[in-house]
Symmetry: D2
């Protein structure tokens, strides 16, 4: 997909939502700045529009979640982020749940992982996509700083085309978002907007 052609999203397109969880998008939590940035740009509403369209048009929908066991077992603490984020997203807790506007529906897939910082490694995500013939993924959610970047790199490594609606992702600080997209993700993904994605899904 050259950047100047109209966006095409074949039936084999999947929507991936990264860590849109209550404990992540919580303005009073550990990631308050990120939550504020996501709120300021209307990220959840943008993803919700894509999600509704993806479901209407029978695309594959996957919620990619980070979770921890109550006893903290089964995960590495081998990075500052993982030492920080630690015990905030306990399985079964409200904080581990997807935010209400994006709550999983029947037919959606939920891929939760306890380890690492990106959604493909050591999970069934690739097997799910591949078993459904998915060729193209729409990356959405948080954060551009780590998780979305990891998602995009892993998706490229696995052979998928990646579409990035820049209003459906968030990172901090706000000025880093633009720099990161321009200097890193633009080389890996087709940049677009939530509205263009919705139009292309409907075509």
């Amino acid at each position: 997909m050259p950047a100047d052609s109209p966006l095409e999203l074949p039936p084999t397109t999947a929507l991936l939502m990264m860590e849109c969880q209550k404990g992540v998008l919580d303005a009073s939590g550990k990631f308050a700045a990120l939550a504020e940035r996501a709120a300021a740009k209307g990220m959840v509403a943008a993803i919700a529009r894509i999600l509704a369209t993806a479901r209407e048009t029978s695309r594959t929908v996957v919620h990619c979640l980070a979770v921890t066991r109550a006893d903290g077992a089964g995960r590495y603490r081998n990075a500052p982020l993982l030492r920080l984020s630690g015990e905030g997203l306990t399985i079964g807790s409200s904080r581990a749940e997807v935010v209400d506007p994006l709550a999983p529906a029947d037919g959606d897939f939920v891929v939760a992982r306890m380890h690492g910082v990106s959604p493909f490694h050591g999970t069934e995500l690739d097997a799910i996509l591949r078993s459904r013939g998915v060729s193209t993924v729409i990356a959405s959610g948080v954060s551009l700083n780590v998780g979305i970047t990891g998602l995009v790199i892993e998706a490229v490594n696995h052979g998928y085309e990646v579409v990035l609606p820049t209003d459906a992702v968030a990172g901090v600080p706000a000025e880093y978002e633009a720099a990161q997209i321009k200097s890193s993700l633009r080389m890996l993904a087709r940049l677009t907007t939530a509205d263009e994605v919705c139009e292309a899904l409907r075509r």
Copy 2:
């Protein structure tokens, strides 16, 4: 490793050098801006100091290379970067070789891949490190924009501690380097310098 403690690099530390190849660090090539930035900050010299010290102290050394077949077969072209970089690093060509100051020596490992943008996925890198009991990796080379970021994320996913000497990596433009390190990699890796790495390797 909390950021304020002295850097410790156990015997199980490995040096990873990312795509320090003639065709990448070529001031007249496709990645001229990156090559210029690496030259301006003395990146290759900084890596060379770490490399010499790593070899002296019997650490594992791995050259992570991107290569292509002359016929272009066996790789995806599923991202703008991969459509661009395409046929420049042909196996057996001078451009695919590591730059002279970092040339592989006996005992070094060379892990070349034809696909994707980061060094762990679909390669023996993890098996090599794991078979040698490696716990900590030093990330060096290019580019911060994509490859080093991918390397760091994948290393964290695989359970390694990551050490990032900021003068031994390069990205473009120069001002993006600092932003990327501050806003992304600082959460995943211990930031340091080539000199501190050399001291810690010798301790």
Copy 3:
């Protein structure tokens, strides 16, 4: 571990139980012959003894399960076994549960997968084991024909030492068990018995 030395099981040993699920070990189900063979040799009782000892001695315990969604989505049907086994182990159903004598307890890990025929690929199993420093795995459960063989091969690929208590696994027909162990698994795993495993775990 040479085969003639006493069995040693370090604190970093984990017990893996493969698909000991009600819908698999069901004498009236699709895998009736396998269920009968497991019953005839007392496989579940042998695993239960190891499981009790592993818990007493604080070893890592992992239940490796095969599950399917009610709508069948998210899995390949790319092999005769997968076309057959299909919709029998629906998430949330009694048939997907572990048999009562081996039921998961607090502290155990449960790794359920929808795809494929072995437990490491595309799951968190390796990350869980690695984050806990596991070096050695005890393979138990069903079936020697496919799943246990896959588990053993994958564990070797990931760098683990494998211990196989031959009374804690089952395959069909009975005479194939011995042939398979002698001609295949003996080259990949240390052969032993449940009682020897229990003794070694306690030492």
Copy 4:
């Protein structure tokens, strides 16, 4: 592919040849019994017929090799087979080469690994196949005891359909071959013969 339908091999079929190396198929080497069995059944000639047809019909061809460094570094010795096979297939040696009738030609892929016992884990094999749109793999080579079984299980895990020409694989002892195919591989692969494969490739 139900077992009773005519064999169909789409253009997206690849031929995988497992460890058909001089040091493996050497009647005076460590694996003499396997070499004798392969010779007795004419395995190399059967593979050579498939290979010629695969090349004629522009299918993807991959040689999957086991190799070791002269210094033995970079591989686990975590299984009896790996402690035995150790230093016999040194990179650059004649023993590591593919046997003459199957020697790699331009356009073939060669995927060599230093670790483990099967060809997909920690190699570019899946990326190569996937980048070429491969859906179906023909499994050939040695040994049924370990490597071919691992290849088939991994291929199924990655979503490929597997075709197994039983005269193009070998294991020991001879009577184990039939048992292993009947009791294990028949559930994972479509059984066929080299001649049927050649016909289907030409259709």
